[in-house]
């Protein structure tokens, strides 16, 4: 049984320390998984975040026998981990383009399909942080949708809200972020 399963179990049992341990593990696993996939794929191939996250889930937790809360915890952490990976990549590539000296380039640069061009990603992430400060749940929804590529239905499941609510939140959060990213647009 993997460490992650232990942590998920501990979270279900109400161990407050467990939540803090989950993210680094999931983050690490996603990176490892991506790196290992890149090594096996032809050059120029890009990986899909959705597939990666779900595969990570299957690898770490196995599909069966996991309580729903575990799934929610896991996908919440995975969305955050995927966000960090994608933002790191965008920052790194940008630094390289601007010739900012020796950027710490990981040799197996993780070619994970980014949901948007680098500049836009960084801008969206910044706006998303602002949204999170105002309304954490909606920001969480955007993370699941934008960085992991979940559908409304799935994200609603993770956040334990109805699909109708998720859809309304999504429409609002999207307009809100758009207004942030393109002021005056």
């Amino acid at each position: 049984m993997s460490d992650v399963t232990h942590i998920l179990k501990a979270m279900e049992q109400g161990d407050p320390k467990a939540a803090g341990q989950l993210l680094p593990l999931v983050y690490d696993e996603l990176r490892k998984l991506a790196a290992c996939k890149m090594a096996n794929e032809a050059p120029g191939q890009t990986l899909q975040p959705t597939a990666l996250v779900h595969e990570a889930w299957l690898r770490l937790a196995g599909d069966e026998d996991q309580a729903w809360d575990s799934r929610a915890h896991f996908f919440g952490a995975a969305a955050e981990a995927m966000r960090r990976i994608l933002i790191e990549n965008a920052r790194r590539k940008k630094a390289l383009r601007h010739g900012a000296g020796q950027a710490p380039l990981d040799i197996q640069g993780l070619e994970i399909a980014a949901p948007a061009p680098d500049d836009q990603m960084l801008a969206i992430d910044e706006a998303l942080n602002k949204l999170a400060a105002l309304d954490k749940d909606k920001a969480e929804l955007v993370k699941l949708r934008f960085f992991v590529g979940m559908t409304i239905e799935e994200a609603a499941g993770v956040l334990r809200i109805s699909e109708a609510t998720a859809k309304r939140w999504w429409v609002y959060a999207r307009a809100w972020l758009y207004a942030e990213v393109r002021p005056g647009g």
Partner: protein, 743 residues
């Protein structure tokens, strides 16, 4: 849960009132027709020009946002295909076609199975399986219809008949089958410690069933233990093969798949998949694929393992998985057994009521050859029919020479080639290049000839495109209807949102008040009631907690979490009548559940006090369902505990020691440890080990006093621990437990 839980803990993160108003107006405007919007904005924003500017900016952004952030645009991400297994859209009481859904029977990789009641043309109970994957429902049903006649001709005591298929209102395909209440063949064998010969006899019956289907031209394509259920008829185990025709109807999803679903398609059964199925070309599957899967089944019945570990297959990634299934030679069953860890081998042998060395010896030789012949990568070399396989097993049982023999010289050479693949691949590549060159020129020649016919093809394509357009239009119209339904739901979902916000701000009374305006018939509200119940439960406000969990169950009678919290509260507040009724309800709702976690919780809840004799057996059966999940399950200690508790209630005191000694020694989940201590202490006392009983009881009480302090998130399990400890104290010390804890 994640979101709402976080906001429960940090009320500061809930939105400030300003954006709330913006959002409310924004939502409302979007629901209005274009010509009504300005008037509404005037009224809603009044003098507040800043607010109005914000809302207008948001509305403009909404109009311009277009495909901004749209995850569906990401290349290769197909959004309809990923599963949301936790939110089945059907629930008990729903009507699907001629069928009324009753309780959930089980849930697998690709579907949820319910017990359903058929009313016409005959009244009977059936199993109804709703396919979860986002599939093209129409083609699934079309494929099923194509095979329907053949399926109808199947008539065999070991085959569960497939009766009907259709689409639910939400457009998911469903299948209706003869209702079989049984357990997985592998679990049945292990639980009953069936010896090897008995296992082989069951297996022969399965082969005959598969043979019958093959004779009618039906290939199963998904033979695996969970599709072979064993039921008892007058005490005689009868295996039944279920899901015939379903794999065929639901295949062909490969056309529009993402990497994930491609993998996903594997998930249920990679371990049982034949090499030709692993190719996933989908074109060339015949009865011999089923023979391979039967071989895997036999392997597992003999060794307790599949030839390739399912988990390892999945973890190796898709390509490696295919390669393994197509190329890697599995270990022979006897070799597999003798290379296991001693403890594992002992466990496997014990489940077959055998001594480890004898088991290995029994399997080595003939049985090895039979299994390996069924598992041949080249299907030409497998048994040519299921009855051929059955016959050989039968011969073995009667000590006659078997047909599957050690291979010939040529055969060994081929194996050798397979093992030294790289060297041969180089030589083969040279040959292939020559052949390919020739093939290419031939292809170009044929192309030219076909060019003449291509005009006609183009015309056909245009017609097909038009048809597709019509389909899309139809879908769009359906979408509009759904949209309308969602708008009508807005007032109610707003109440949920408001209640959720109030919860996160700590205004529980107000949240409860808002919820009182939502009809109790809306299942979604059970989430809010559970949250409220949890809060009151953690604070020790029991009547309020009871009230909310009761409402939660009314709103969603399948919400087992609510049952799990309510039961200890009823005992703790001394409401015995309500507790007894609760347990009866648990039996009717979950008595037949196959979900080990649900079975464990419900059985524990109802065994915390000695239950009436009539229901004791059924709760004990639920404990068996839990332990059927096996020691590899991450919740295993919980299952061990509930089994131990059931054994205690049944008066099997010696067995209690076996089940509970390990759990009681395990730290980490104090409530469970205390529960195990209490139960173990009682069993020790009943066996006359008074000193041990006292010591164990003291352990449990110590844990309860030091660790199970009020306000824990597992307050309900803590209560169960306390209740069991009280019972133990009275029994062992002959006096009520002093109430040291301030409750």
């Amino acid at each position: 849960m994640l979101g709402s839980m976080q906001s429960n803990q940090k009320p500061a993160s809930s939105p400030s009132p300003e954006p709330r108003r913006e959002e409310a107006i924004f939502d409302a405007v979007l629901a209005l027709a274009a010509e009504q919007r300005a008037a509404y904005l005037n009224q809603a924003c009044g003098e507040d020009t800043q607010l109005r500017r914000r809302v207008e900016l948001l509305l403009r952004s909404h109009d311009h946002a277009g495909e901004f952030l749209d995850p569906a645009l990401r290349a290769g991400t197909n959004r309809t295909l990923v599963v949301n297994p936790t939110a089945p859209s059907e629930k008990p009481g729903d009507i699907i076609g001629h069928y009324k859904i009753r309780e959930k029977l089980g849930e697998g990789g690709c579907g949820v199975v319910y017990v359903a009641e058929q009313t016409e043309p005959v009244r009977r109970r059936v199993a109804l399986k709703v396919i979860k994957l986002g599939m093209d429902t129409r083609s699934v049903i079309a494929r099923f219809e194509a095979e329907r006649q053949a399926l109808a001709m199947m008539d065999h005591p070991n085959i569960a008949r497939v009766l009907d298929a259709g689409a639910t209102e939400t457009g998911r395909p469903y299948f209706v089958m003869e209702l079989v209440r049984g357990i997985k063949i592998t679990d049945y064998c292990d639980q009953n410690h069936l010896n090897t010969s008995k296992r082989l006899e069951l297996f022969v019956q399965v082969c005959h069933a598969v043979q019958h289907a093959h004779q009618k031209g039906i290939i199963h394509r998904d033979i695996k233990p969970s599709n072979i259920l064993v039921t008892l008829h007058d005490g005689v185990p009868v295996p039944k093969v279920i899901d015939f025709g379903i794999a065929k109807a639901t295949e062909g999803r490969l056309s529009d798949l993402t990497v994930y679903t491609e993998l996903r398609q594997f998930i249920g059964t990679p371990a049982y998949m034949s090499p030709e199925q692993a190719e996933m070309s989908g074109l060339d599957i015949d009865t011999r694929s089923d023979i391979y899967s039967l071989g895997v089944l036999l392997y597992e019945l003999l060794t307790g393992r599949t030839p390739f570990d399912a988990q390892e297959l999945i973890q190796s990634g898709l390509d490696q998985m295919r390669r393994t299934i197509r190329e890697k030679e599995p270990m022979r069953p006897s070799t597999r057994l003798s290379t296991m860890l001693v403890a594992d081998l002992t466990a496997v042998a014990k489940r077959q009521s055998a001594e480890p060395p004898k088991l290995v010896h029994f399997i080595r030789g003939d049985l090895d050859w039979i299994v390996m012949k069924a598992l041949e990568k080249d299907r030409m070399r497998r048994f040519e029919s299921a009855s051929g396989l059955a016959l050989d097993v039968h011969r073995f049982l009667k000590n006659e020479p078997i047909e599957a023999r050690p291979p010939s010289g040529l055969y060994r050479f081929q194996k050798w080639v397979r093992r030294n693949k790289t060297a041969f691949a180089a030589a083969a590549a040279v040959v292939a290049a020559l052949v390919l060159g020739l093939g290419l020129s031939l292809y170009l020649f044929i192309q030219e000839r076909h060019a003449l016919r291509s005009e006609r093809v183009a015309l056909q394509r245009a017609v097909a495109a038009e048809r597709r357009q019509a389909e899309l239009r139809e879908q769009a119209e359906k979408g509009l209807a759904l949209e309308k339904h969602m708008r009508e739901m807005v007032p109610i979902t707003d109440k949920f949102t408001t209640a959720g916000r109030l919860l996160s701000q700590g205004q529980f009374d107000k949240a409860e008040e808002v919820m009182s305006e939502v009809p109790l018939t809306i299942p979604e509200s059970s989430i809010i009631y559970n949250a409220l119940g949890e809060i009151y439960g953690r604070r020790g406000e029991w009547p309020a907690a009871i009230r909310n969990f009761t409402r939660s169950i009314t709103a969603d009678p399948t919400n087992h979490l609510a049952y799990h919290c309510l039961a200890p509260l009823l005992v703790q507040t001394g409401d015995w009548g309500a507790y007894r009724k609760h347990c009866e309800r648990v039996l009717s709702q979950f008595g037949e559940t196959t979900d080990p976690a649900v079975a464990e919780r419900m059985a524990k809840d109802c065994l915390m006090l000695p239950p009436p004799a009539a229901s004791l057996v059924r709760f004990a059966k639920m404990a068996d369902t839990a332990v059927a999940a096996g020691p590899t399950n991450s919740s295993w200690p919980y299952y061990e505990f509930v089994k131990g508790l059931a054994e205690y209630r049944l008066g099997h005191f010696a067995s209690v020691l076996e089940w509970l000694q390990k759990v009681a020694a395990q730290e980490g989940v104090p409530a469970r440890t205390a529960q195990a201590d209490a139960t173990l202490a009682m069993a020790e006392f009943q066996l006359g080990q008074t000193n041990a009983a006292r010591a164990t009881l003291a352990e449990g009480i110590k844990i309860s006093e030091t660790k199970l302090t009020p306000g824990r998130i597992d307050w309900n399990d803590s209560i169960i621990a306390e209740i069991l400890l009280r019972e133990a104290h009275e029994l062992i010390m002959g006096a009520p437990m002093p109430t040291a804890r301030g409750k």
